[in-house]
Amino acid sequence: MIESGSFRDPTARVFYRDDRILRGLASDAAQIDKAARATGLMDRLVSNGLFVENWIADDVIPPEGIPSAAVIESKRIPVVSYPSEWSFSMLKDAALVTLDANLLCLESGFILKDASAFNVLFQGTKPTIIDITSIDAFGKRGIWTAYGQFCDHFLAPLMLEAYAGIPFQRMLHSKTDGVPIGDLNRLLRGRSGVHKGVPTHVRLRSLIERRAAGMATQARRDIGQASLPAAAIAGTIRKMRKLIARLETAAPSTWADYEEALPYEAQSVDAKAEFVQSAAIAAGSHQMAVDVGANAGRFTQILSEHFDHVIGIDNDTGAVDALYATAAASGLGNLTPLVIDITNPTPSFGWRGTERASFTTRVHPSMATWLAVLHHLCLGLGLPLEEVVALMYEFSDEAVVEFVAAEDPMAQRISASRKSELAPYTRDLFEEYAASAGTIVARLEVSSTRTMYHLRRS
């Protein structure tokens, strides 16, 4: 099967055979790849964790229509995520990996010919470049072809959140080409315009691009011939690295206050944790688990002990950022946090609407946990209980659900200002819906208003 998202580079196409991820290279690309391996560059990129592990697959003949001068196989990264699903620190780390790989390449006379954020995937919490064929020959002089793309995919969204306090995720939702620099230029008004990097990468570039649009073809060709020595390009990239490394998010987050405000008694939290643990052990498959509404990730971390791969999703970017830091610090190599709103998950998008896959086509968990989420969906957002139970069975083979009754103080707080009548929301009704499409494997009352369930799809 040929990857629908890999048509942009005609010299290398991605295809799949059985469970293998393969790239068919045209002769030019094959020659460059061979040279990158001969100089030891590829080894350095892989051993520094910048590139995904990859090797020459001599035994594979690509399908009709795919370049076949060489075939490269790469290790499968089980969680495929997109930039709009990353938190601030994740996009920042992905940017740094892209720059570091470029610097390493330049030392050996190569460069990365593109800087798409879609070329980066997270192995647990470690960003890794998967586009092996983005390595290009550079020689002694040249231009950083991907400078503009790097700014649109990484710098602009990071600046948007750092300097304007706007979470970039919503600006990247269903976008394949980042944040246009002109948009950022118009958004960064007043004092935000004096921040580091704005005068050059945003103001100057916007100005010159407006000018350049009116330039004659010959003048554009002349500029296309321009080149700089490798040392000058490396200098620009190092300055960019310093700029990115200093950026900090200025977006507001609700999670921190919320976590503190939870009126849990330690006892019920322990009972919940124990229930999640036994459900995880009893799961039919331990391939992948998703913690829906992961928040600070207390239960995501329990899941990570029992599943090969765990994704903690939350619609609050601050919560995801915190979980990313916790998981990285405690060395949880199989936990990837993502910014996903379960009521509006990433759709499929891009060229012909299929270039990038939807979240629910990419992620098929064997178990999902929905802890303290149900009342948000039903009482907060007014979603019908029956619909939510249907989603739970659709999303994963097994589910661990915490039912929070309408009388619960937290549920009361959520629905306090609601005037309109809601769809019926009771524990009996939940059990009825849950039992009609699956089996209630286990059930535990953790407090007078909260009950835990382990559900299995029939």
């Binding site: 400078y147 010159i208 000018r211």
Partner: protein, 65 residues
């Protein structure tokens, strides 16, 4: 010596000029072949032309130097 493969990604005229500017005086001095003056003159002239002849075709070839 391997030649860079044809770039499928257009760096863009604007982005290239910004890079030359970012490289600073050191970069510009090192890039002697750049004919920066010529480019600057072209930029200035194009901007001037843009202001006086709004209706003119953008794709019209520039007069020979």
């Amino acid at each position: 010596m391997i030649k860079p493969s044809f770039a499928y990604l257009d760096p863009g005229t604007g982005a290239t000029i910004v890079q030359l500017a970012l490289a600073g005086t050191a970069g510009i001095a090192a890039a002697g072949k750049l004919r920066m003056n010529k480019i600057k003159r072209r930029l200035a002239r194009d901007a001037a032309a843009e202001q006086t002849e709004h209706s003119e075709e953008l794709e019209e070839p520039a007069p020979a130097e």
